[in-house]
């Protein structure tokens, strides 16, 4: 990996302390009280944004009677877990969880790779008409989902993919990779050409350049894509609702929808169910956000 680049790890959480940071001498003087004010403001904003989640937590462990009598904003007097347990068993939560993970994970990985290939051709290869091609791919994002649903239903029926997870995976790979292609191609357009030329001069083929040079350098952006795609697909409701008929293939959002009937809804269980469906996505985000903070490039020019 001769062209592997290592740099200043700007925000590596594994290495706090001055060793990982570049400090100009006069900067240390600026570590004044101002930073606490800014921190307080940022934390306050975060707390304000978390209010709805706090409400969700309050209601996730509340019994239906308490919810109806004291309202959604009250503190539960006892921790009520029956709703959660019922929901878990009734919708076969572990099964749905697995379905969601399989679908979201597959889409995240596949769409990232498709985006990488597309963006490599468009951003770095700079093939002719690349702007129009990016636009064309973006069309996948521009079409409202309602417009796609009937055609996709018919196509899925024709190809025998109706009621399979593969149909959902394929559809979302295309939709998400449109965004990925656009983002990566935009970033790749500003890719330092000297690195590519250096690699080419070293005798590397296009394929090798992709994996040895471009891939490692674009890691943070690729991580962003994986995270976004996973989370966006995780919460997708409409297309799985239409494509996945058997309960065994369904994802979590569709399962949660069963808590809302025609006229009645089960609010505490809905909150409990949402909480446990949120958790995997949050965990995923927390794990992968560490990859967002890996240091990158530019020092490579040297």
């Amino acid at each position: 990996m001769t062209t592997d680049i290592a740099v200043v790890d700007r925000m590596d959480p594994a290495r706090p302390g001055p060793a990982g940071r570049v400090h100009a001498p006069h900067e240390r003087l600026r570590r004044g009280p101002g930073r606490w004010i800014v921190l307080a403001a940022a934390v306050l904003l975060a707390v304000a944004m978390m209010v709805p989640f706090a409400i969700m937590l309050l209601n996730a462990f509340k019994s239906p009677t308490e919810y109806s009598t004291n309202g959604p904003l009250s503190l539960p007097t006892t921790v009520y877990t029956d709703g959660l347990v019922n929901f878990w068993n009734r919708v076969d939560y572990p099964g749905k969880l697995m379905n969601s993970i399989v679908i979201s994970g597959s889409v995240a990985v596949l769409a990232t790779f498709v985006s990488l290939f597309n963006a490599y051709a468009l951003g770095i290869g700079r093939i002719k008409g690349r702007l129009w091609i990016v636009m064309l791919f973006l069309l996948a994002n521009m079409l409202p989902q309602e417009a796609l649903i009937y055609p996709l239903y018919y196509l899925a029926k024709q190809t025998g993919l109706y009621n399979t997870q593969l149909s959902v995976i394929i559809i979302f790979t295309v939709i998400q990779s449109a965004f990925g292609t656009y983002l990566l191609a935009s970033v790749f357009s500003t890719f330092p050409p000297s690195i590519l030329e250096a690699a080419a001069l070293d005798g590397a083929s296009k394929w090798q350049v992709l994996w040895r040079v471009v891939f490692p350098i674009s890691r943070p952006t690729l991580s962003v894509l994986v995270i976004f795609f996973f989370i966006w697909t995780w919460n997708e409701f409409f297309i799985p609702l239409v494509m996945l008929i058997d309960n065994s293939t369904q994802t979590i959002p569709v399962a949660i929808a069963s808590l809302q009937g025609d006229r009645l809804m089960d609010a505490p269980t809905l909150n409990a169910g949402s909480l446990i469906s949120l958790l995997p996505a949050v965990v995923f985000f927390l794990i992968f956000q560490r990859t967002l903070t890996r240091g990158i490039t530019a020092g490579a020019v040297k």
């Binding site: 239903y153 593969l166 994986v226 609010a267």
Partner: protein, 439 residues
């Protein structure tokens, strides 16, 4: 470095299940083809879908029915509880494919069962209904929603079988009534007087949810106080033109408007959802709500702080209400005989009594079997409406998408941003356009 490997490992792990899932994601059609259509009642499988909660009256009764069915026929039931939203949005698509069930619960009305029947997606049950005596078990007014001719209910072949009923009534907080010395009203004027008492005491008398169905249903109840059966037929089954600028609809809108002005209905309830309205009743904030029997079971289990009851909308013979959701047998069903057997079982007195004793409204139960006092209260009220041939269905049924029109229109009245005439014109135009489009 660790994260890089970690990322690759996770990615790799995720791709493997992908392949597996893709291969096995489809339905196993073998199971449903097992029960041959040649009237086999020994063994086989029945793919059954419904979307009633497991704790609801229907859920409990039907679970029992499944047990009885499996014992008696030896067949197994592949039951899947669906989300209402999925059925509502995708029923047409599902039933046009091979992935549908053998029998399922479906919504009654022109826009739902009517539409599917007109497309040939539902089995004609007329003969079976005759054979098995369902035509005799169900009251005439209930049968309206079981039969559809060219997608319009009321006549024609049987496409669905109702199992239970539902109607709109007035729930009231007995303790609050006692506190303010109010008697149960028997006329609309008495009800208005009762509401005046509450308003004077600073309490909003009638709970309302402008963002969902309750507003439209209140309007309908008011209109029905001046309507007759012919009007209902005209409005719901297009037997005649409907004049939106004349009574009874005019009366309904103007009275609704008057009630808002009098403070009977909260002026900031345009964005309130039905759930919040119900919760307000349960926690004793609201003295009365005009809503449906579907709340009954929940009120029974969750209201503890006060005494409550129901009374039918004072002075009305006609009330909003209909049969409950119906059992339909998709045309593509592979086990129709089994499906008919199951429907039959749900109509049996024991199952119907189970439904009745758990807060539901049975249609074919022996009155003696329903022992729970609270349930008896509900069933007596319902039977009163039935005996008067008083079921008038729901205001949003006539035209597809009318629900949204009504919600928007009555939000205008709650917000006092339009006059009743303007609202009537708005909903009238939408009605006429919708009916014209259906041809």
């Amino acid at each position: 470095m660790g994260t890089r490997k970690h990322g690759r490992l996770v990615a790799g792990l995720l791709v493997v299940p992908l392949v597996l899932a893709a291969c096995s994601g489809g339905t196993d059609k073998g199971a449903t083809d097992g029960g041959a259509t040649a009237g086999a009642t020994q063994g086989g499988t029945l793919k059954l879908w419904h979307y009633e909660g497991a704790d609801s009256a229907m859920g409990i009764a039907w679970a029992e029915a499944i047990k009885v069915f499996e014992e008696e026929t030896g067949a197994t039931v592949e039951f899947e509880q669906k989300a209402f939203e999925q059925i509502q949005q995708t029923a047409g698509m599902v039933l046009s494919s091979d992935e549908g069930p053998d029998i399922m619960e479906y919504n009654k009305g022109n826009a739902t069962a009517g539409l599917l029947s007109s497309q040939g997606l539902l089995t004609d049950l007329t003969d079976v209904a005759q054979e098995r005596g369902w035509t005799d078990m169900l009251p005439e007014s209930i049968q309206t929603t079981a039969r559809y001719e060219n997608g319009v209910m009321g006549s024609g072949p049987w496409y669905g079988v109702p199992n239970y009923g539902e109607f709109v009534t007035v729930y009231y907080n007995k303790d609050m009534f006692a506190e303010y010395g109010i008697e149960v009203p028997t006329t609309l004027a008495e009800m208005e007087a009762a509401m005046d008492t509450f308003v004077a005491a600073g309490i909003v008398p009638l709970g309302m949810a402008g963002a969902e169905y309750p507003a439209g249903q209140l309007f309908y109840e008011l209109a029905l106080s001046k309507a007759d059966r012919d009007f209902v037929s005209a409005y719901q089954t297009y037997t005649d033109t409907v004049d939106f600028q004349a009574d009874p609809l005019k009366y309904g809108a103007e009275t609704f408007d008057a009630w808002v002005k009098a403070g009977y209905v909260a002026q900031d309830s345009a964005s309130i959802k039905a759930e919040d309205m119900g919760v307000a009743f349960i926690n004793g904030t609201t003295p009365m709500i005009v809503s449906g029997s579907w709340w009954y079971g929940r009120f029974v289990s969750e209201i503890s702080g006060f005494d409550w009851g129901i009374f039918n909308f004072p002075g009305n013979t006609l009330n909003a209400g209909s049969s409950g959701n119906i059992w339909v047998v998709p045309e593509n069903s592979a086990n129709k005989e089994l499906a008919y057997e199951f429907i039959d079982i749900t109509m049996r007195p024991e199952i119907q009594a189970l439904l009745g004793n758990n807060g539901g409204l049975p249609l074919a139960a022996n009155p003696a079997d329903v022992t729970d006092p609270k349930s008896q209260e509900l069933i007596t009220a319902f039977n009163e409406v039935l005996d008067n041939d008083g079921l008038a269905f729901y205001p949003d049924w006539p035209v597809p998408g009318y629900y949204d029109v009504l919600v928007a229109a009555f939000q205008s009245l709650i917000n006092q941003s339009k006059t009743p005439q303007e609202v009537l014109t708005e909903i009238g135009t939408a009605y006429d356009d919708g009916v014209a489009n259906m041809g």
